[in-house]
Symmetry: D2
Subunit: 159 residues, 4 copies
Amino acid sequence: MSEHAHAHVPELTPAEAEQLAQDAANAMWSRDHVAQSMAMALDEVRPGFARLSMVIRQDMVNGHAICHGGMLFTLADTAFAYACNSHNHNTVASACHIDFLAPSHLGETLVAEAHERALSGRAGVYDVTVSTAKGKTVALFRGKSARIKGEVTASLVQA
Amino acid sequence: MSEHAHAHVPELTPAEAEQLAQDAANAMWSRDHVAQSMAMALDEVRPGFARLSMVIRQDMVNGHAICHGGMLFTLADTAFAYACNSHNHNTVASACHIDFLAPSHLGETLVAEAHERALSGRAGVYDVTVSTAKGKTVALFRGKSARIKGEVTASLVQA
Amino acid sequence: MSEHAHAHVPELTPAEAEQLAQDAANAMWSRDHVAQSMAMALDEVRPGFARLSMVIRQDMVNGHAICHGGMLFTLADTAFAYACNSHNHNTVASACHIDFLAPSHLGETLVAEAHERALSGRAGVYDVTVSTAKGKTVALFRGKSARIKGEVTASLVQA
Amino acid sequence: MSEHAHAHVPELTPAEAEQLAQDAANAMWSRDHVAQSMAMALDEVRPGFARLSMVIRQDMVNGHAICHGGMLFTLADTAFAYACNSHNHNTVASACHIDFLAPSHLGETLVAEAHERALSGRAGVYDVTVSTAKGKTVALFRGKSARIKGEVTASLVQA
């Protein structure tokens, strides 16, 4: 839903908005200790969108080799963070809701796709779907975002 | 709200229900790789209640030294898990909601307290408050539980 | 997402599944006092989908002529009910979440569209968007459904 | 949790804070068409707290004489509104979550009690329990509030 980005920063061309999303993501990634320690991959980011993936490790599962809900949430929340910061305005989570639908297991790859559903003033709503690489939906996540002061990165695009 | 435990397993004395909650927690802890790798402490468990704590580490914060929402969620979700399995029936999370209220920082101790709010048939609702050791409320979490087949541990109390 | 209907009742052709959804909706409508007293219109129903609309009346607004959140919720919840019962299995709401995004006013027409996001076993997740007739998004709703015993209507399709 | 009121309007005595809550409720009630048309009773209001009740009428139930989820939500949401406006600052709902636990029936009296769980800056969290008069818990509701401009009433207490 890149129209939100345009409404927000109307002076940007689509190519500039895409570059800005990439610049913001790169700046976030360099200081994102959690994503790095969980070996997440940032597969794609665009205005209002992000897709990340990770492999379920031994330290992410319980005794039945099923992925911990907190690890699923953290992956979804990270996709949410990259999507809602993609317009380069510092933005935080104010609330999140997650429905757990099916178990996922040690060694499986999880993919989280975040889509902007609404963005109006300082508040936004983002939906994240967490699936296995084989396409089974594992969890549905909805996050509410709040824009705060400052920019994510001092991008050349905005200069 | 230990009356739920009594309604559920009416043959137990309060002392037996407490022992059962402790036995179930011990069995869960031994296979809980996530709680162990995040160095959580299981401070207290009773029927329908659990309190856990952890210190915010470098690999749990972002570039501004603020604790990642996913790590807060994981602590709250773990307290929820110990509370909702305290009656020794295998129980999983079906949905969770979290409101983020204030930031917490590298080196601070977080405390999560889970209370049973409702338990009827196979579904329960648990409220978790995440605070700093100094008493600042950082997040409010509400989890919906679903009882599945099996017991957490083959407790002597039930034998 | 009519593939869910097929997975659920694999013996139905698409035309039969559509007819079943219509039959179930008709049966529900005849006893739906709330939808009738709020003068809702059931604009469309298909397997896993429903769209309803209503005009905001004087008894649905507060002193500033803004629609009450409970009335928005009730419209969204009704769309959810028609969508999740469209496979003709008796299904109830177990939990709902609503984000309020913008005000709506006396005399405006509201449209609620419910889409099935997931359906697995007895649990489903449905997303409902509430908009004004002019296209402004007023609220986003997510409902969790639980299938219970029985069928909505003794449909000829299933006979 | 009246300490929030004190933190917010530190100059008020407890008696003044109580009077302000009552004045704000009276001003809201006079223009609350929904509460009046549903024949709700405002049983009690204090700083950060409200209790309302209503009898389930024919136009609030479905064909099985079970109360519609939208009517339960509206009662809970109204209790939330009186609680979060009790400090006399104009405050709206930004998001709500409801878990449905047990059915309620035509002719039963429902009681909704709203408690302030957190209030920090412009955002608050309120928990509402909906029960029958006999004490059965029917639904648990959690609302997030956002303070906007203006006061509820030009109270003498603040003058």
